[in-house]
């Protein structure tokens, strides 16, 4: 659906050239929610703005449905943009227009006749649950409501793709949850493809199918969200995961665990149904002490994290770890005993 190859964007600043995008390759499949996460300054914003040419890349290619976007100009570009919805961190609603008029705005731009416009706006307001606020101005709405207007507006011209630029970053946790649910729902109902950028791993965990981690203008890690959670390859990715599943042990505790080996075990799906702890004790003669444990839900798949202190009781730690790996668990030794 969306294919990005070797995308480069440089900005010249007072201090020299800033490499915002340093050769980004990405592929987004139809109907998926694709998340791009990275620290501020990683190039997320530049990347998502390149998709509808709000930023003009310096090199590389962006193909949407096989068509090169970078060659679009003038009217062709405007028609193309009408088919890509976009929502923003600060909503960017017109303060001079009511909810209804804001949602009608892209339809006016596209030259949709008034009758059809009104019908469509009514449907969209219902879709996002704002019918009761039709004649309110944005200043009279809460952040979550404003973003609903933003979403309805972005959907007005029946786009195939929705771009979300930190859409929940200025919302409180409750509104964030509601907006993420709404995004997931409209993806399912309208068969949209959603590309979102965020600096919050919670957003990735909650609604994304696949994720790319961006650092210094490069994709450093990419994959199915559950796989990335299970087996992160990069330190930055681990740090992001720790913001939602914080398995850091309380300070001082690690020093106290001097006898055993400290191990992090992560697992998904059916692995959780095995009675692993008792097997460790009985078969491998290892005493395992659970210091931390939780089970999360990632896209409907249970995802578990355990921190174990393993103390040999006649058996070998290495054998026990191999056994866990054979069971499909991801094992990481945090500290040797």
């Amino acid at each position: 659906m969306i294919e990005i190859k070797g995308l480069v964007k440089n900005y010249s600043t007072g201090q020299g050239v800033l490499h915002a995008l340093n050769g980004v390759d990405l592929k987004v499949n139809e109907g998926e929610i694709f998340g791009i996460i990275g620290p501020s300054g990683a190039g997320k914003s530049t990347l998502i703005r390149s998709l509808n040419l709000l930023e003009i890349p310096d090199a590389g290619s962006i193909k949407i449905n096989g068509k090169e976007v970078r060659s679009l100009k003038g009217k062709e570009l405007r028609d193309f943009r009408r088919k890509i919805g976009m929502i923003f961190q600060h909503f960017n609603l017109l303060s001079s227009r009511t909810v209804r008029e804001n949602i009608a705005f892209p339809l006016e731009i596209a030259g949709v006749p008034a009758g059809e416009r009104n019908r469509k706006v009514d449907r969209l307001m219902e879709l996002v649950g704002l019918s009761a606020h039709a004649d309110h101005y944005p200043s009279e709405l809460s952040g979550g409501q404003k973003q609903r207007v933003g979403i309805a507006r972005a959907l007005a011209n029946d786009p195939q793709i929705l771009l979300s630029d930190e859409a929940t970053s200025s919302l409180d946790p409750e509104s964030t949850e509601a907006i993420l649910d709404l995004l997931k729902r409209i993806r399912d109902e309208l068969n949209l493809t959603i590309v979102l950028i965020t600096h919050e791993m919670e957003v990735i965990k909650k609604i994304c199918d696949r994720v790319a981690v961006l650092e210094n203008g490069r994709v450093i890690e990419e994959g199915e969200v559950i796989d990335v959670f299970l087996n992160p390859q990069q330190e930055l990715t681990r740090r992001f995961i720790r913001t939602v599943i914080d398995y850091t042990l309380p300070e001082g505790l690690e020093e106290m665990v001097i006898k055993g080996t400290l191990v992090r075990v992560t697992f998904k799906g059916e692995s959780t149904h095995q009675p692993l702890m008792s097997l460790l004790v009985k078969k491998y003669q290892i005493d395992a002490n659970i210091l931390y444990g939780r089970i999360d839900d990632i896209q409907g798949t249970p995802f578990g994290t355990l921190i174990l202190e393993m103390i040999p009781n006649g058996g070998s730690i290495d054998q026990a770890l191999n056994f866990l790996k054979e069971q499909g668990l991801v094992v990481e030794v945090l500290k040797n005993g």
Binding site: N92, S95, S96, E108, P138, S139, N157
Partner: protein, 223 residues
């Protein structure tokens, strides 16, 4: 007694006429200034760096014109453009003739006021419109002007009040209006009471215009 009444009547008639002349000069020149000043201001804003129709050269030229227009003292401008006034109105003396320098002085003022009001708009809103495939003209008409409307109204109010001040100067060289009366009767003939009356009328006019401008601006302000 009868003589006193006659004098009062004469002055009342004089003040009423003067007020009407002032209103005529200010309103006509204001309309002209708005008609020319808004496009000039819009063009200046949208040609700025990073705006929807960035054009550095054109922007510098427009910016320069506005600055020059605003730096020429009105009294000098009035004299300097007498040939233009003659060409347009047929004479350089009288209330109608005063409209030409008033409008010429107010155009760059309105342009700057428009430029400032448009720059206040959150760039994110313009970006959102671009992301929807809006043309530059659609962005101007549907985004920039409506979003800046409260600021534009306050700016026009400010221009109107400035024009009242300028019109008094125009009066001094034969343009008529309240300023003319204040100078001729109050200053040259030592009729303090006439001068005081004209000043009171001017103060009231300014108060009224500012009050109305604030009311209208806040009516359109939904921020």
């Amino acid at each position: 007694m009868g003589e006193l009444l006659a004098i009062l009547e004469k002055y009342n008639h004089l003040l009423l006429n003067g007020t009407l002349e002032t209103l005529y000069m200010v309103s006509v020149s204001l309309v002209i200034a708005v008609i020319f000043g808004i496009p000039l201001g819009v063009l200046t804003t949208i040609t700025r760096k990073g705006h929807i129709l960035t054009n550095n050269v054109l922007n510098k030229i427009l910016d320069g014109i506005i600055n020059i227009g605003r730096s020429i003292p009105f009294i000098i401008l009035m004299v300097a453009i007498i040939p233009l006034t003659r060409a347009l109105v047929g004479t350089s003396i009288g209330t109608t003739a005063a409209i030409v320098p008033l409008a010429v002085a107010a155009i760059p003022f309105v342009a700057r006021v428009v430029d400032n009001a448009l720059l206040e708009i959150d760039p994110g809103i313009i970006e959102a419109a671009r992301s929807m495939g809006a043309t530059p003209l659609q962005i101007i008409v549907k985004v920039l002007l409506p979003e800046a409307l409260p600021g534009l109204i306050l700016g026009v109010t400010l221009t109107a009040i400035n024009l009242i001040g300028y019109s008094a100067m125009a009066g001094a060289i034969g343009g008529g209006g309240l300023g003319d009366i204040a100078v001729r009767y109050g200053y040259q003939r030592f009729r303090i009471e006439v001068m005081v009356q004209t000043v009171i009328i001017l103060v009231l006019l300014v108060q009224l215009i500012q009050w109305a401008g604030n009311k209208i601006a806040s009516h359109f302000d939904h921020r």
